[in-house]
Symmetry: C2
Subunit: 213 residues, 2 copies
Amino acid sequence: MDVSRQQNESAARAERGPRARTRKLMLETATRLMQSGITPSVSEVAEAAEVSRATAYRYFPSQAALVHAVVDEALGPILDWRSEAPDALTRVADLLATAMPRIDEFEATFKAALKLSLDQWAQRQAGTLGNEPQLTRGHRVELLRQVTVPLEGKLSTEAREQLAQALSLVFGVEVLVVLKDIWGLSAERAQSVAEWAAAALVEAAIREGQTAA
Amino acid sequence: MDVSRQQNESAARAERGPRARTRKLMLETATRLMQSGITPSVSEVAEAAEVSRATAYRYFPSQAALVHAVVDEALGPILDWRSEAPDALTRVADLLATAMPRIDEFEATFKAALKLSLDQWAQRQAGTLGNEPQLTRGHRVELLRQVTVPLEGKLSTEAREQLAQALSLVFGVEVLVVLKDIWGLSAERAQSVAEWAAAALVEAAIREGQTAA
DNA sequence: AAAATTATGAGATGCGCGTATCATAAAGAT
DNA sequence: ATCTTTATGATACGCGCATCTCATAATTTT
């Protein structure tokens, strides 16, 4: 059974009434707390939203479920991104321009999601996998395949796939973690570096495709 | 006060005797547990090493301190890496060939370290910063500056710095997280993608330096 | 060998998260 | 208006981590 599916259904089923109100209240509270840097426990959200712990746990049975819901909100425009640009270079620049500021804006949320996915990986390794919501973290694949569509004739399928994979290294929260936290760059500089790297990768792939053909 | 410094001093001060033996035993046990995928709590290490919890906490006052010590071990050959190769392309390939297999081998350990650094970032944001060991996570900077040394005359200082920053995106645990966990690649494929991307970045930087000059 | 120092273990305590129970309050149906 | 259903809150419980205390064992010093 897919838990997130269940949550979506129940949310859709009761878009008004007390259920929806309380859920929305909690989600807003959780988002606000996360924006302020905290990765709140369910109890903390309960207190901040002024509902009882018991009620809070009815809506979000774990911190993972909570973060999952907030991430879904935060992704928002990123998931809707499409590009009709004819060349991959423009598409990737466009994607980064859309996604990176959003990711930076919700930095704490995405870092919390990354942290949870690491948790789940570890638990999977240890065999101790609970019935947690199973963070998605795969949107990158779809988005970057979109980016490489204009190269369909010019590159082999393998080369396109490899380009998409390489691009996924310069696009996401991980980029912020490395460039801001380790190098101490500003968000603007970080984005600029990511854009430069992305362009370099696309051009390299195209160049190789030409020499091969 | 730098806690890791204190630990190093006490370890150096008592390289033999029961202190050193127990510490070594715990470290080996912790490493073994981490290799098996668990990110053990201090209590778990205590049990596995067959010492009492109280003793364990005397050596490693927190899980963070424990992971920090294990990471130091795991880094091992990576920290000693040097390259005398005359060109940056060879150097970066050499660095990846040395470091990535090691990182993959100790994947669980490095992921645990990444998780802790995210924890600490969140706590910093929230103002709740304990006296934790403060994970380093900055070795990348030094290593990659080494890589770009051969470009000293050919590129501007800014361009070299940007290259090093871009390279840091294709080198580290994050690469494994993205390519193995999200894309489902094997360790070998992941390394191959990282190597391709790194080479592409270096070549792009060189090309731009030439046109600029 | 005796005394002083130091390391260890067993247990108690506090704290936070997640779960379960049960009574009350609110909303909806007849 | 009454009854049924559903949501909520207060409380208590179990569990694991981290800390503290104190007695015992091991090691070092004299």
